[in-house]
Symmetry: C2
Subunit: 192 residues, 2 copies
DNA sequence: AACCGATTGTGATTTTGGTCACAGATTTTC
DNA sequence: GAAAATCTGTGACCAAAATCACAATCGGTT
């Protein structure tokens, strides 16, 4: 009845807030399965945000063009929720891009359906709240890394906290994510 | 019936989610009015987080001791919610400190009562969710500043986005907040 | 297999911002 | 109101990382 992907999604949701069968069905019913080839955009700067994504497989990057440079602000791997919050909440054209960094399969939940879920049951509000708590904690940590750590420590941070990124994401993108020049990160890695 | 402080609090809450009279009363009933003198700690590293604060007047800083240096990670001014999310959600001893940077008056909402509110009505869940959306957007912006802006641009960011900090917060603390040496920020300011 | 583009490595050079040191200035404290 | 502590300004120096330039490697495509 449930596919394997459905079950993985449910497990992930359960980490934040446990949904009963009806609620989960409601959630699943408004999720749309999609595939993106490498280099395809899930969201392009200038467009309106169309919701959030739950990655089944692949990798997605969030980046912003800042005087000609692609500055990566986040990466999303499988079983994670890819999103661009600002344009999602403000309903303004996005300044940022979501792009598939490899062939990717995912569930898409549109903004419209997400808002309907929030109306439907407090369980979804709680889920949203807890997910946001999690995301904010993570973002606080990134800020700490950028504010307080030296280049080598930033690399060590990735090794410890997000080791999967090292395999899957090009070093060039990781460098921008860590606020470093590509060359600096390359030299740090050469030392290991 | 409502004090002026109550009304200001309600207005601030309304920006995120409008509460009806009963709900607002429930909220107010579990808020405790408190005063802190300058340099008093609202939360000390090593202790358990005891909730969130709504500032009526004064200023509060959030900092972490990182090899001997006080690294300020946020500042809270009047009509803002001061918090340390990580220890609040994880219920672990805090690694961070909340300190009054001037004489401060505030409402305190304990973690325990906050959780009760979440159980009581979906309005509080939604309020929490929307507040977190706001906080996460703000934090994303800070990360962007630290990742992508040069020292002078960081100062300009403060001038534009949080001008009140420039008057009320010592330059030394602002420097750590922006990930700069105190001397660098001093020289930038001298140029104006 | 050969090609083309994207990605990475590495040396040389430059520059920015950090560090150190100390002097004023401003606030607290008793 | 004097002393102490905290905070800020400023010069000299240094070091770390950015930039520049180019070669090498990897990956995907036809």
């Amino acid at each position: 009845m449930y596919s394997e992907n459905d079950i993985i999604l449910r497990k992930t949701l359960d980490k934040f807030n446990v949904l009963n069968d009806t609620e989960f069905s409601d959630f699943l019913n408004v999720c749309e399965y999609k595939e993106f080839a490498k280099k395809q955009y899930l969201l392009k700067a200038g467009n309106y945000n169309h919701g959030i994504y739950f990655l089944i497989s692949g990798a997605v990057g969030l980046f912003e063009l800042i005087d000609g440079k692609e500055m990566y602000q986040n990466f999303f791997l499988e079983n994670e929720f890819a999103n661009e919050l600002k344009s999602l909440t403000a309903q303004t054209p996005s300044t940022k891009n979501l792009i598939a960094l490899s062939d990717t399969t995912l569930f898409h939940l549109s903004r419209k359906e997400l808002l309907k879920l929030y109306e439907k049951s407090v369980s979804f509000e709680r889920l949203g709240r807890k997910l946001l708590e999690h995301l904010l904690n993570a973002q606080n940590e990134i800020s700490y890394v950028l504010q307080s750590l030296k280049p080598e420590e930033r690399y060590a941070y990735l090794e410890n906290k997000r080791p999967n990124l090292l395999n899957t994401i090009p070093l060039t993108y990781l460098a921008s994510y860590l606020g470093l020049a590509r060359e600096t990160l390359s030299r740090i890695r050469a030392k290991r």
